[in-house]
Symmetry: C2
DNA sequence: TTTTAATTTTAGACAAATCTAAAAATAATT
DNA sequence: AATTATTTTTAGATTTGTCTAAAATTAAAA
C-alpha cells in the first residue's frame, strides 16, 4: 500500500519517463514535485524498496514494469474523476485538476471501476488525455501539435499539452474547445504563430498556444 | 485547515457529545479512534489550540460551536458520498462506510455543494441518518427504536443505529430495508425480542436487532 | 479515610516526509 | 588533465501522529 506522497512521486517519475530514455534525474523530480533534491533521494529509497523503480547512486531513476502499472492506475483514477467533475458536476475544464489530485488517492478498486461504468467508460479526460482501462491499457490516439500542421488542411482540436487554468481559460475566451474544427491558413516564419480559419473568422494563435494544442487531421 | 487525523478525532468527539452532557473522556475518544489515551491527550492540545474544543487537565473535553459546525461539515460530506455510492454507483448500503471515510476528507466546498445538487439535495444517507445542509442545519426526523414501540401499531423502518456490515447484511437477509412497513405484534418480556407482521409473515427480531432499528409510526 | 484502582498526562522514542548545510560524486570548462 | 561548477547524497533537524512506560491525578473500595 502506497502513501499519498509515494503515489505523487511515482506519478511524476512515470510522466518524466514518457519523454526520457535515460535515467530520470533527482533534480528533475524535485522540480516537478516542488521539493528539494535531498527529499527526492530519501523517497527514491522507499520506491526502490517497493520495486517500483530501479536506481544506482548518482545514476538517475528508471521506472519498473510494476511502477508503470501502478502509476497508470493512479492516472486512471485522476482522469476518471476529472470526467466526473466536468460531465456530472458541471465543473469547467480548468477547475478540475486540484480536486482530482486529491481524489486520485482514494483506495478502492470497486469504486473506480463502478465510476468508470457510471461515466460510460470514457476514453479521454476533459483535456483530451487518454484514460487507462482497468488493465492499464492506454487507448492510442493519432494527434499532433498545431505547430506541426500543414496549411490548407482541416483539423480537429483533440487535446491540450498545458492543462493550466490560464491556458484553458484563454482557449475558452477564443471559443476553442475539444472537438472544434478549423482550417490551417498560415504558419508565420517570423514568430511561429499559426493562423487558422475558425467559425468563419481568421484567428492567429501564438507559438506558445499552438505548441500546446493537440490536433488531428480530419 | 485541518489534517485528516484532526478531522477524524473531531468527528468522534462530536458524535460522543450527542449522548453525553459531561466532558468526553480521553479513554472514550481513544476507544473510538482506536488509539491510545496518550495519543488522544496530544491531539486534544491541537484541537484546543484551534478552538474546536475546550479542555481542562483531567476534566474531559467539550466541543465548541466552531467544533460542532466543522464536524457537521465533515459528516455532511461523509453522508453525501454514501448517497452517491449507493444511488449512482450501486454499492450496497453495507459497503459504503470505509470509502466514505476516505472521501469525507476531500477539501472542496464547490465539490460538495455540486455533489449535493447532483444527488437532488438528499435529506438522509443510505442508513437513514440525516444529512446536514450547507449551513450545517440538520433536518429533524421523528423516530424511535423498535424496542420502544406499541403493539398493534403500524411502523415504517427509517434508520439503523448500528451501521456495521454484519447488521446491514442481516437486515438484507430478512428483506428489511428503509421504507419497509410492518405491524408490531408482541414484545417478549423474557428476552426483549419483538415479533412483527412483515409481508404477511410473523418475524421475531432479537433485542439486539430491535434496539438498532429506528422506526416511525405511520 | 486511607488504600487501591483506574484514568490522564508527561516524557521520551519512532516512522514518515520534509528541510538545510555539508560532503561526495559527476559533469563541464578552461 | 586539472580546476571549477553542478548534481546527488549524507547527516542532522523538524513536524505530525503515533507508541510505551512512568508519573500525576482522580475515582472507587475496603
Amino acid at each position: 500500500m502506497l502513501t499519498h506522497a509515494e503515489e505523487n512521486y511515482l506519478k511524476v517519475i512515470y510522466h518524466l519517463s514518457q519523454t526520457e530514455d535515460e535515467g530520470i534525474s533527482t533534480n528533475a523530480i524535485a522540480q516537478k514535485t516542488d521539493t528539494k533534491a535531498s527529499s527526492v533521494t530519501d523517497m527514491i529509497k522507499k520506491l526502490k524498496e517497493k520495486n517500483l523503480i530501479t536506481h544506482e547512486k548518482y545514476q538517475g531513476v528508471f521506472i519498473t514494469k510494476l511502477g508503470m502499472q501502478t502509476a497508470k492506475m493512479i492516472i486512471r483514477k485522476h482522469r476518471l474523476w476529472e470526467v466526473f467533475l466536468v460531465d456530472k458536476l458541471h465543473f469547467n475544464w480548468d477547475e478540475v485538476h486540484d480536486v482530482a489530485e486529491e481524489l486520485e488517492h482514494i483506495k478502492s478498486e470497486k469504486l473506480i471501476n463502478a465510476l468508470d461504468a457510471f461515466l460510460g467508460y470514457p476514453k479521454e479526460d476533459p483535456h483530451g488525455d487518454p484514460i487507462p482501462n482497468a488493465k492499464g491499457e492506454i487507448p492510442y490516439r493519432e494527434k499532433e501539435l498545431l505547430t506541426e500542421t500543414k496549411i490548407n488542411h482541416k483539423y480537429m482540436c483533440v487535446g491540450v499539452k498545458d492543462t493550466s487554468s490560464a491556458f484553458l481559460q484563454y482557449l475558452d475566451r477564443q471559443k476553442i474547445a475539444l472537438g472544434s474544427t478549423f482550417t490551417v491558413l498560415k504558419h508565420e516564419n517570423f514568430d511561429h504563430s499559426v493562423t487558422i480559419l475558425f467559425q468563419d473568422n481568421e484567428l492567429t494563435l501564438s507559438k506558445v498556444v499552438a505548441h500546446n494544442l493537440f490536433v488531428k487531421k480530419i
